[in-house]
């Protein structure tokens, strides 16, 4: 197909002959019919690509923060060059002696772990402390009762109604379990005395019933 020269202005006598006014260029067959389709399909493809967008994305505010992050990396690199280590030191030969120190500690801990049973028993004793206090309360009440009976009926200590009639084991158990360390020392004075001076006749003779009763009342 040839194009007709469309530039057609009357220039009076200077007009070219009609035969020369035809374009020498040709187009492929159906070029203009196909061109329309090609342009619209090209436009559609571009539109779809725009809709799909890039397959890659960046975190929110990535580009806003990028400069700061780069600056921070530079700061860190410079800091690492300037401060590669914390600057702390240890005493001479510290690390060569540390394993031995730890091994020794481990051994002593292992021994302690093996010897932990008495601690458990001690806790149990603490829990049953109340029982002994209760027993002691009954004991004191009983003693007081005996004393009042003694006064009313005119019984005397020599008649046998004294603390010495209460089982020695019972008194010792109670006192030892409820007493503080200082008290044990105090009491041992009487027990030792008993061991030296008496045989099988109750708690130490030099301690009076009042002494013991006072002590029990103080403890309660």
């Amino acid at each position: 197909m040839k194009e007709k020269n469309t530039n057609y202005q009357r220039t009076e006598g200077n007009d070219l002959p009609e035969s020369l006014r035809v374009s020498p260029f040709r187009t492929p067959e159906d070029y203009f019919t196909k061109l329309n389709q090609q342009i619209s399909s090209q436009l559609n493809v571009e539109k779809e690509l725009t809709d799909i967008g890039s397959p890659f994305s960046v975190p929110t505010d990535y580009f806003e923060n990028l400069t700061g992050q780069i600056q921070q990396k530079i700061f860190l690199e410079e800091l690492k060059k300037e401060v590669p280590a914390a600057g702390f030191t240890v005493p001479d030969r510290y690390f060569s002696s540390l394993p031995l120190k730890i091994q020794e500690k481990v051994k002593s801990v292992a021994e302690d772990d093996n010897g932990q049973q008495p601690k458990v028993i001690r806790l149990k004793k603490r829990r049953t402390w109340v029982k002994y206090v209760a027993a002691a309360s009954i004991l004191v009440a009983g003693v007081s009762g005996f004393f009042s009976l003694q006064n009313k009926s005119g019984f005397s200590e020599t008649d046998g109604y004294s603390l010495s009639n209460i089982s020695e084991d019972e008194i010792i158990n109670y006192l030892v379990l409820s007493a503080e360390a200082d008290d044990i020392i105090y009491l041992s004075h009487y027990f030792d005395e008993h061991d030296e001076s008496t045989l099988g006749t109750g708690i130490g003779r030099q301690s009076t019933d009042e002494d013991i009763e006072d002590y029990i009342n103080y403890m309660l």
């Binding site: 800091l79 914390a86 600057g87 091994q103 801990v109």
Partner: protein, 181 residues
């Protein structure tokens, strides 16, 4: 000796001591420096390291190999450090909610066995303005060069949170350095 061999030798009573010695030899310095950077003072670090390895000795038999041995050691050490620092806070009448580590400033200025230059001292001072957990993250990343995954296993915090924490820590340190030039 690799970690799995240490663990299997520790399980056997006849080689337990040998395995524990090997573990001490292999990890004592890493654990010491991790602790030291947190508590600052050598004597405190020394006590803590001994306690940490006693705990390790008591619990290594129960250690499950689905975790790395050194992350497990770091976790014990970190917990001991946090407990120690909390006790120190209480002793100094500082609320446990107060996250800053500034109460250690005095320890830093008084501590013996610090041969750091001006820049090293400045970094330590800057680190004390950080909350303890941020300081932990910074130390593990900056000085120990641990990966975020490893730190995550030690502290039980997500990698994302750790990255944010480290970023904030560096930002604060940078600000401190610029304002104290």
């Amino acid at each position: 000796m690799d970690d799995s061999l240490i663990i299997s030798k520790f399980a056997d009573e006849s080689t337990r001591e040998l395995a524990f010695n090997e573990l001490l030899r292999k990890y004592q310095q890493k654990i010491y420096w991790h602790v030291r950077r947190m508590v600052i003072n050598h004597d405190d670090a020394d006590d803590l390291v001994q306690d940490i390895f006693i705990k390790v000795w008591r619990n290594l038999e129960k250690f499950r190999e689905d975790a790395q041995l050194y992350t497990w050691l770091y976790r014990i050490a970190t917990n001991e450090c946090i407990t120690f620092l909390n006790k120190k806070k209480l002793k100094n009448n500082i609320s446990l909610d107060d996250e800053s580590s500034s109460y250690l400033s005095e320890t830093l200025s008084d501590t013996s066995y610090f041969d750091g230059d001006k820049a090293q001292l400045k970094l330590q001072q800057a680190l004390l303005i950080l909350p303890e957990k941020q300081r932990l993250v910074f130390n593990m990343k900056y000085f120990d060069d641990l990966k975020y995954d490893e730190i995550s296993e030690i502290l039980g915090t997500s990698v994302g949170a750790l990255k944010a924490s480290y970023h904030l820590a560096v930002k604060k340190i940078e600000k401190y350095f610029h304002s104290n030039d």
